[in-house]
């Protein structure tokens, strides 16, 4: 079950695709959210996905970690490979989800202590020893640029932190799963610009270790962060290519250029 070579592959030396999606369609009842999307994400790159609302971006992310199982009425067709393995062949869907960190548009500080928020995923994975958890909690909070602000109050409720702190807490929680793939869904819409820039810096650091898929409404953010970008419109992937070429106006599709120049959306 090896995935076919990446469509954007230019030469054989390119690393194998981390994520490969082939003919992916998603329906909710009779409503089609995504139709026939084929794309791949390379190891340790940031793929930016932008486009207007109802483009199927969030549904795409939900399909990656098989959240369709927990979403009534959501039907997924097509194939998704992660590390060359069809995700429907994972017998343990919970293990699959632990390998994919997810960050939501609205910060979700679980009503547990800050410590427990970050220790939750390791505990679910079976890590019980206090020392081990301490190390994970500190390193994840540090990587999420939150440690200095919360290290003296690790027992306050995560839901009581400010919005920006909660969003970084969400990122720390995602990192605590030690994920190979991090997906972020419009993480900045409820966060102030300063925090947004801090999180963007975090993502630039993380890019060295893990693969990131970044769904964003801000085309400028995609331009700042992404190695490659995909443009989703009305449930179709209109275009995918190098960030530079897309933003320099060398788009293959007119609609992408129109969207980027503000002619619609």
């Amino acid at each position: 079950m090896a995935p076919p070579p990446s469509r954007t592959g230019k030469n054989l030396a390119e690393p194998p695709a981390k994520v490969h999606v082939r003919n992916l369609s998603i329906r909710y009842g009779s409503h089609t959210a995504l139709s026939d999307v084929t794309l791949s994400v390379a190891e340790r790159e940031i793929l930016g996905i932008f486009g207007p609302a109802n483009g199927g971006k969030t549904s795409f992310l939900k399909a990656l970690n098989r959240m369709d199982m927990f979403t009534p009425g959501m039907r997924v067709r097509g194939e998704i490979f992660i590390n060359g393995r069809d995700i429907r062949r994972w017998r343990n869907v919970y293990a699959l989800r632990r390998r994919i960190g997810v960050v939501f548009p609205l910060p979700v500080g679980l009503p547990l202590s800050v410590y427990d928020n970050v220790a939750l995923a390791p505990r679910l994975a079976g890590i019980q020893k206090k020392q081990d958890l301490d190390v994970i909690v500190e390193s994840c909070l540090t990587r999420a640029a939150l440690w200095d602000e919360v290290k003296d109050r690790l027992d306050t409720l995560g839901s009581l932190l400010s919005g920006g702190q909660q969003q970084r807490l969400t990122i720390a929680r995602a990192l605590s799963q030690n994920p190979e793939l991090l997906v972020l869904d419009e993480f900045s819409i409820a966060v102030d610009p300063v925090t947004t820039m801090r999180i963007e810096d975090i993502l630039k650091e993380l890019r060295r270790e893990i693969t990131i898929i970044l769904v964003t409404n801000l085309t400028a953010q995609a331009r700042r962060l992404a190695d490659r970008c995909a443009f989703f419109l009305s449930g179709r992937c209109i275009e995918i290519g190098e960030t530079e070429s897309i933003f320099s106006g060398a788009t293959k599709d007119e609609r992408t250029r129109d969207y980027l120049t503000g002619r619609f959306g």
Binding site: M67, P72, R97, G109, L120, R173
Partner: protein, 289 residues
């Protein structure tokens, strides 16, 4: 230019009229409460004493205390809770967290609503048929409590469902995305945040259960039994039935005695309600999102 038009004035008068009308109606609501509690306190308070609460009734219930009835009510309510709370909470968790949205689930929900609408005397007769006769529990605390449990099950289920649904879906999704199973999510995040609502529902249910008379009078509550029950297979006295018996079945009961019983019963209920409110306030302070 800023002169009120005739139309404006009319709206204003109407506003005043309806506000007064609705305020009066609210007052009408309060009147029975004040009268009931006032009468009970005035007429019943003189008989309330340590002796009244903790001794047996004597002389054909015309003298003495209410101790066996008080303890009996505690037994009945406690056993009923032991049955209805685990059952009701489990059912609500299933309906809220696991059940697919299909005709069968909707049927179950409909059944629960209908169960809540069944009159208590019908529950009583069901209790006689099912627990006293069919399961051969006899007239006993067990039979009476099971009848009460079935009667109050809808209350527990609905209260639990509402508090589970008040927990934001985002919390569940965050857990699922971390690879938690549904049960782990429920145990770690959903239930801890729903527990205040569930407990409040349960305490309210206690106060309701303690006042019920019809469901227990055929299934386990005794007319006059001046000693304490030793197991769930014994019969027992209960405050509510005791009050009914004293006022309608026994001649020569001094007037103040039933008032005292009623005051104790209503005091028990109000104390429970107060506890539930205090508890809710306490948990609300700690729970924030």
């Amino acid at each position: 230019m800023f002169q009120a038009s005739e139309h404006n004035l009319r709206s204003k008068r109407r506003e005043a009229l309806f506000r007064t009308l609705f305020a009066l109606m609210t007052l009408v609501l309060i009147v029975p409460v004040v009268v009931i509690i006032g009468t009970l306190v005035v007429k019943g308070a003189p008989v309330i004493s340590f002796e009244f609460l903790f001794t047996d009734p004597i002389n054909g219930m015309t003298e003495g205390g209410i101790f066996p009835a008080l303890i009996g009510t505690v037994w009945l309510v406690a056993v009923a809770l032991l049955v209805s709370v685990p059952l009701g909470v489990a059912a609500a968790v299933y309906l809220s967290e696991f059940a697919p949205d299909n005709w069968f689930t909707r049927l179950i929900n409909l059944a629960i609503i209908n169960l809540a609408g069944v009159p208590s005397i019908v529950h009583a007769l069901f209790g006689v048929g099912a627990f006293v006769l069919f399961f051969r529990f006899g007239t006993s605390i067990l039979a009476a409590s099971l009848t009460l449990a079935i009667m109050t099950l809808p209350v527990v289920i609905v209260a639990t469902l509402e508090s589970l649904r008040a927990v934001p879906l985002a919390f569940r999704e965050a857990c699922w995305n971390m690879g938690a199973t549904r049960w782990q999510t429920i145990r770690l995040v959903v239930l801890p945040n729903a527990v205040s609502g569930i407990l409040t529902g349960i305490i309210l249910e206690v106060s309701r259960t303690s006042g019920e008379t019809a469901p227990i009078m055929f299934t386990g509550a005794a007319f006059f039994l001046p000693y304490l029950p030793e197991s769930v297979f014994d019969q027992t006295m209960a405050l509510s039935l005791h009050l009914f018996v004293m006022t309608t079945q026994v001649p020569g009961v001094p007037e103040h005695l039933p008032y005292g019983v009623a005051l104790v019963l209503i005091g028990l209920v109000l104390a429970m309600n107060a506890l539930s409110i205090a508890f809710r306030v306490y948990l609300r302070q700690r729970k924030k999102w």
